[in-house]
Structures are given as structure tokens and as C-alpha cells.
Symmetry: C2
Subunit: 416 residues, 2 copies
């Protein structure tokens, strides 16, 4: 079962917007055994859209289209779909009611004709009412092929894919099972890894595909397989992994698919332990707190944080000793440990994480090399810290520091 | 002059990685007058790659390919390009030297054959040595068509595009001038905006294209035009904008192309005024501080912040009166104003921004509707606050609250 994702919008082709929708859709399709053959981004142009539909139809079974469903003149997807299906647009009462409800909820003025027109849909389509916005999702069939049109606004699209599109695809198609297992490997470059596992790779059965995915500080090695015999696929892939693991036993740290995001893992663990956390941040500037509070239900374990950006605020708010800073510099083990301990006391939390360092590009108050970050963890019984050098640029230093802080903390609470 | 971007990699088609490369390339091409006709993401599969090359060649003049240039067996782009051009691979000494230099710089063990093989390039290609990595960029011509192959690692690719690809394209092709002007409009929804400017839009000359780009809390309205008479294009677009502006005079805030980001604007303004800022955040959970500290040079004006996530931390650290919270609820004008004033005192800053509310999806300690956020600004002479209802989901509420807080603050310091 093959799919193509077509994203429509000039903003993609002039680089004004990054297409994040396709990755979400591709992942959702993969989960139910649908392989994405191609992703195509095209302009808001009728001829181009029609051509893309025709090409996609010749290649794949399922075509998912996002974008171009707004109320204005540059939104031409719906009309173009109707033309492609030799269909006309009819008013859908459910969609109209939804639009009216949204209008009422936000206390807007009266509905304009263009708003009402968003309730027009191709007569042959099955409609998915979009509770988060005014543009509906639409499902149309042409012999064995299925066209699905979705709004381009990411959170509206995601909600429709999860709640409506995926269930309906599962109902209609009998899809194979797709398995991806991605090994996370630290401390081994792409070519050295390939060299080390060469004979293993050469003996991989043809139905298992291997991919090397290098990224900042780690390698991901992905084995993929698909077929209708789910049990066999799982066994085959597992057997290959069993042969592989002894070759990389010092560098292998886990499977990407088994890992929840760090902050979700930490949140669940803290809730289970009935423990609380607070943070103090200097160079990470609030990003650590932001990462922790991204998901819901955080108030059960997260007490809060201090962004002690200015050196003086480390003294005034975090009660770090001026003398300690003078002696060791604001970016030091001594200061970061004091930050963690005092934050724990300030928030009356069981644990505290603290960061200080220099994310660059300038030296600032600290005396350390640009990219140096100290991270401390305070527990009920001790405080400890580590020093890291994360290189450049600024954004990367901040991101790596936040990830490393969460990793260190995860390791700590796993001891419980 | 038309281009197509082809990104190669299974990781894109299973949704493991978001394609950020295409937006960067598209923007860079647009700047020199090359329009991107299509972006195509395909698998690491020889047949599929060959087919994509052929299709692209039939549609456009310039084909830019990223990905599939690593040292391992799943990296097949280079061989496939050689096949497409009926060419063979030859060792390039400059590339080899670069690989050896990188090896030495990182103190790695001896070069493997697969590393040396990265210096193999199609004999017909012009090579761009990649100083940031081992895979080179390659430029091949076929009659009037140009194929450019680049590594998929974003920072390597960006460096090659800016330093090598764009200059060489400008040399080879005589490109038209492309102008985008994007008006930022606040407080007017997509359909209401379209309604208000309808007759203006109907009278736009055909060479000026209009696009509506709704995003969190604002509308972007983009006028685009291209042609070889640069002066005429600038005049025509400016004339249209002059007619448009009186229609949206209360809602127009500036041009995206002219604007620095809000936080950069605020930083520069505060530095010019020699004033300082601190923040207190509840529902935005650190995102406001993170946004402010994203860019360099922040310590000149940013003192820091408190993420008072738990209600108790508003009392303990921000010294908000327990009684005030009991009387008005933790999400109220009274509490957010107290947060702002006390933060200003705590950090001894000239200004403070505070947020409190409920980002959802659960009610939590607050009594307000999910999505409600209060924002307060404290200045040396007053404190004021506003209430907003930002809807759902959580991520969007947080983002809108942060943007709105920075906007309110920008408006305030613009008075100076």
C-alpha cells in the first residue's frame, strides 16, 4: 500500500514556511502499514495541482493533500479537487454548524459569505468536520484510489489525521505490517560503524533494509521491514539485532522507538515516586523549564524555576554567595552546585537541576571557553555536577545543554 | 528560471526527520530570482531517483538534490547521478585532502576505504569542497539544465549553498528580479481581511500575486511579483501597497521583510534606552524567557525570570499575597499584576512582564476557561494587564501568550 503526500502552498516554495505536516502524516501512515512513496510540495496553481494529482494517482493508492482550504481567493484546492473529480460543490450542514459554533465561541461578528462558503464541499466527498477550525477534511474515492484533502494549519491537520483519517484508512485497506527498529549508538562515527558491522550488513536478508542516520553526537541505525506475516517480521528483525548487538555492545544505548521523550519519561517517573522538581537556569535561559512544561499534567511534579540570567540575580534570588562567584567564576562547578541546592531550598522541591555556562557567541561575564556548560543535580542526599563543552553555535549549545541536563536527571531518578 | 528541489532519504518518508533543507534552499534561490516549481522528497532507491531526475528535468532548469552522499551502503545518490549522466566516478584530490584534514583535526584513527571513497566524484562534475564535512557538493550540466548535488546535513548544505551554489548560479543564469512584500496585520481574521480589501484585490494587476498567510495571532498578507525590470516591479508593488494601507491602517504593524523579530527589536530598544527587563511566568513555563534569551547579547538588558509554575511558588518566591490568590484565583488580573510588580522589585529591573493563566488541557488550580491568559506589564510608573482567550491546544496557547506578551511590551517601550 503506497501513499503520496501533496502539500500545497507558495509559502513552502519560497521558503517562508518549513513543511512539518508531511513528517507527521508520513509517521502516522507508517504506523498503520502504509508506505509513503513520495512527498510533493507544489504551488497554489490549478494546472500544477491537477498535474500533481494525476501523477500521484499513477504512482500510489492513497493521496493525502494539505493546504489551500482557507476562505480567500488564493485557496483553490477545493475547487480544483471538484474539477478533478468532475464534481460540484454543495453546502454541508454539519460543517456550517461547526463554523457557526466557532464563530460564536470566539464572539466574532456575523458570518461573511466567504466563511459560509467554507462549508461547500465536493458532493462526492465524505466530510470530516474540523472541530479546531473552519476548513473541513474531505475523503474522495476514484476506483481503488483514495484522495484525502486536509487543512494546512498543523494542529487542525494533526487532529483530523489521528481522529478521522487513520481509522478510516485502516477500515478500508488491508495494510501490511511495517516494523522500524532504530538503534541509538554513541561514540562511533558513520564510517567506523559501517566498517565494524560490514559482514553482518552483507548478510542481511533482502527484506530487511538498513539505514545510517548520523546526527549531533550520535548515530541512529535503522532496520526496517514490512509484510503481512507480522510475527515472522518481528522474529527476523529481532534475530538480526541479536547478531548485531555483540558487535556494538559498548556503544549501543537503546532503541529510539522504545524511548519516550525525556521529559515525558521524567514526568511519569516523578509522579510515580511522588517527588517534585525545580530548576535554575543561566545559559539555557528558560529552555529547560519550557521543555519540562511542554506537556500537560506538569503541575503534579514541577514546582517552577528561576532564570538567573544576570550574575546579580544568582546572588539576589538564588542566594549564591558573591564570594563563591568571585573565587570560581559564574560558570563553575561550585556555582552550579550552589544554584541547584539553593533552588531546591527555595522551591522546597525534592530535586533541582541547575545550568550555567556560556552559550556564546561572546565571552560575557564567564571566564570559560564558549560552549562550556556546567550542569548540577541536587537530590535529597547529595549534589553533583558535570562540565561539558558543546561547541557552537549558540542555539546548538542551548539545545545540547537542555538535552544533557534531562539525560543526567533521568539517569539519577532511574536509580530509585 | 525554474528550479526543483529533490530531497533523498527514507527518513523523510517515514516521518523520522522534518525536511528543513528545502525551505532554506528555496529562500536562497528566490533571493536571486529563481522560482522553485516543486519540492520532491523520495526514497533511497535507484529507480525512483532516476525517475525523479527525469521528471524534474522535463519541468525545470535547475535541479538541486540533497542527501544520500554519506560513506555507507544506503547512500546511493552519487552512483545514481553518475549513471544518469553516463559517467564514471574518479578520485578528486582536493576532496581527499579535505577529508584527510578533517580526520586530522578530530584526531580520528586511520582513514577507511569508505572514507576515501567519499572523494570519488562523477568525472563530468565541478566539485565544491565541503569544509564542514566529508561529502562534497557537485555541479553537473546537461545542455541547458544544471544538476547540483549537496550533502543532506543541514549546516554543511547551508554553507555550500551560500558560498558556492548561489554565486555560481548567478554567474550562469540571467535571472529576473523577485520581490516579496509581506504585510503584518493584527486583529483581523483572514475572511474579514479579505472582505475589507476585496475591491482592491480584484483590481490588482495580473503580475502581482497575493497570498493570505494566517498564523498564530496575526495575518500575513504577501504581495509577490517578478520580472526583469526591477525598478518597475518595485514601483508597481509600492503603488498597490499605498492604495492598500488606508484600508487596514488600524491593523497594519509593519513589513515582515523589514522586521527584526520581536525579541531582537525589544533588545535593541532596551539597550538604547539603557533599561532592564525581568519576567515572571506561570502558564508560559519558561518560553518567554527562552524567547528573549535566544539571541546573543541579552545580558545587557535581561536580568532573568521566575517560572512560578506551582501556585505555592508564586507565594514563596514572587511574594504574591496568599489572600489575593484566594480572593481572585491564581489566574486573574490582580495576581498577574502583583507578579509583575514583585518581579520588578525582586530583580531590580526597570520593566517586568508577567503571565498567568491556563494553557490546558485540564483546569488545574485556576478557575478560568482553558486557554485564558492574563499578561501584565510593570513600568517604573504603572502596572497594567490584559486578559486573552487563546483557545486550544496547549502548545498554541503558550505560543500565542508569549507572542502577545512581547507585542504588548514592544508597544509599551515604543512610547519612549
Amino acid at each position: 500500500m503506497l501513499a503520496e503526500i501533496i502539500t500545497i502552498g507558495d509559502e513552502l516554495l519560497i521558503g517562508q514556511v518549513v513543511d512539518t505536516n508531511s513528517a507527521f502524516i508520513a509517521k502516522s501512515l507508517n504506523n498503520i502499514g502504509v508506505s509513503v512513496y513520495q512527498i510533493t510540495s507544489i504551488q497554489d496553481d490549478k494546472k500544477h495541482i491537477l498535474k500533481a494529482f494525476k501523477n500521484a494517482e499513477s504512482r500510489v493508492d492513497i493521496i493525502i493533500i494539505t493546504g489551500g482550504l482557507g476562505p480567500t481567493k488564493d485557496d483553490i484546492t477545493k475547487k480544483t479537487i471538484a474539477e478533478y473529480f468532475n464534481d460540484n460543490l454543495v453546502l454541508n450542514q454539519d460543517v456550517l454548524k461547526n463554523i457557526e459554533a466557532i464563530w460564536e465561541r470566539f464572539g466574532r461578528q456575523k458570518l461573511l459569505q466567504v466563511n459560509k462558503d467554507q462549508a461547500l464541499v465536493p458532493s462526492k466527498s465524505t466530510v470530516f468536520v474540523n472541530e479546531l477550525g473552519t476548513a473541513p477534511g474531505m475523503w474522495l474515492e476514484k476506483q481503488e484510489k483514495t484522495f484525502i484533502s486536509l487543512p494546512g494549519v498543523p494542529f487542525e491537520m494533526r487532529n483530523l489525521v489521528s481522529k478521522a483519517v487513520i481509522p478510516k484508512l485502516k477500515q478500508k485497506y488491508s495494510c501490511p505490517f511495517i516494523l522500524h527498529r532504530t538503534l541509538l549508538i554513541y561514540g562511533l562515527g558513520e564510517s567506523n560503524l559501517a566498517h565494524r558491522i560490514e559482514s553482518w550488513e552483507d548478510n542481511l536478508p533482502s527484506h530487511i533494509k538498513l539505514a545510517y542516520l548520523p546526527s549531533v553526537g550520535k548515530m541512529r541505525l535503522r532496520l526496517s521491514s514490512k509484510g503481512f506475516n507480522q510475527e515472522q517480521i518481528i522474529t527476523d528483525v529481532q534475530n538480526q539485532i541479536n547478531t548485531l548487538l555483540p558487535l556494538i555492545k559498548d556503544e549501543f544505548v537503546g532503541f529510539e522507538e522504545d524511548q519516550q521523550s525525556l521529559e515525558v519519561f521524567i514526568g511519569n517517573k516523578l509522579k510515580a515516586l511522588n517527588k517534585t522538581l525545580a530548576v535554575a537556569e543561566s545559559c539555557t535561559g528558560g529552555k529547560l523549564a519550557q521543555q519540562i512544561t511542554k506537556d500537560k499534567g506538569v503541575s503534579a511534579f514541577f514546582k517552577g524555576g528561576v532564570v538567573s540570567y544576570a550574575t546579580q540575580s544568582k546572588i539576589d534570588i538564588l542566594n549564591v554567595n558573591q564570594d563563591l562567584i568571585d573565587r570560581h567564576s559564574v560558570a563553575s562547578r561550585e556555582v552550579v552546585e550552589a544554584m541547584a541546592l539553593n533552588t531546591q531550598a527555595l522551591f522546597n522541591s525534592d530535586y533541582a537541576i541547575a545550568t550555567t555556562g556560556n552559550a556564546g557567541p561572546d565571552k560575557g561575564d564567564s571566564k570559560v571557553e564558549i560552549g562550556t556548560v556546567f550542569i548540577a543535580i541536587a537530590t535529597k542526599t547529595e549534589v553533583f555536577s558535570e562540565k561539558f563543552i558543546f561547541g557552537q553555535p549558540r542555539e546548538r549549545v542551548i539545545n545540547r545543554a537542555v538535552t544533557k541536563a534531562l539525560e543526567l536527571f533521568q539517569k539519577e531518578i532511574l536509580k530509585n
